[in-house]
Assembly symmetry: C2
Homo-oligomer: 196 residues x 2
């Protein structure tokens, strides 16, 4: 039960992550409205939300432009913030983790596996983020997901894995297995070393 607004937001976000719009480009409401076959309303909502998430830069009466991805020092700093949030939420809520939560994480892991095999960077980035989000929610971190998401989102624009995608998948398997066998310290260590 999702609204058009949410669908549109996700579609545009996917296109941004996939690099279909180059940085600095101005997006027009009418153009995207026609492309997706909806009115400008949901497009405007999506622009607003994606601006909040850090993908787009918004200016009154002038619309939105695609922001440049985070690089270098800034990216590393954000990455450290992200890890801190995950460690905090999982560390605090580890005991809240139930069967249903684990199942959600397992499902995300499956999606990530498929994405890694396909080799499509955009799909992998999305699945990677979805895995971590499932992890946070399963640990009762709903309160923290909002800003975690904002912190992560722009990193997706430069999702580059030094190693192979298979290695990325394996890292996540390691996290999942530690969670399943209730080994808190192992799980936290695995999360900490899961640098993207």
């Amino acid at each position: 039960m999702t609204s058009i607004r949410e669908e549109i937001t996700e579609k545009i976000r996917d296109e941004l992550v996939a690099g279909k719009f180059q940085a600095g480009l101005a997006l027009r409401e009418a153009e995207l409205a026609e492309r997706y076959g909806v009115s400008r309303g949901p497009i405007r909502d999506a622009f607003l939300q994606l601006s909040q998430e850090g993908f787009l830069a918004y200016q009154v009466n002038k619309g939105v432009t695609v922001r440049h991805p985070l690089i270098g020092e800034d990216r590393e700093f954000i990455s450290s913030i992200r890890v801190q949030i995950e460690l905090y939420v999982v560390g605090k809520g580890f005991d809240n983790l139930d069967e249903e939560g684990l199942a959600q994480i397992a499902e995300s892991l499956k999606v990530l596996e498929v994405a890694c095999e396909s080799g499509e960077v955009a799909a992998i980035a999305k699945a990677d983020m979805a895995f971590h989000e499932a992890l946070l929610i399963a640990c009762g971190g709903e309160d923290h997901v909002h800003y975690w998401r904002q912190v992560c989102s722009r990193m997706l624009l430069t999702y580059t894995r030094l190693g192979s995608y298979k290695a990325s998948y394996q890292e996540h398997v390691k996290i999942y297995k530690a969670l399943k066998s209730k080994m808190k310290d192992v799980a936290l260590a695995a999360i900490n070393s899961n640098v993207t």
Copy 2:
């Protein structure tokens, strides 16, 4: 210059910070639209944005409710994240600080002084945040303001100063003076000890 949407967002945010809506309360679009004398459009936009900022919880087809303030351990964690962001941005952009930026900070400081003298908690909380935002922007941290704001926002709902408001103001004066005299280490130390 500023749109109705922005004005409305700010007004509702102020009311939230001032505690005029109790936690858990459901806000109705039509009611606020009538109260502010505008249509539902800008109200919806404001709800969306304030949900992103963490003040409101949004559910599809069911509207928004006022979120509960962060307390205890969570609040301290968020507070530490906030300080890290400020230290990073100021540390990195200290040399970019120009006369205009300093002037903006000075102005925010003046507003904070007036607010502290008035003793109104909501006004003080707002001015406090505005000071730090001016600081970040002056140090070239526009890229980071978005998530910083989200990290801070919910803390405003429980703005409580252990000491007097005058002490709060003095802490900010200390930060400003260090910036003005280009003493980077002193400034960072002052920011670090400015716990709210």
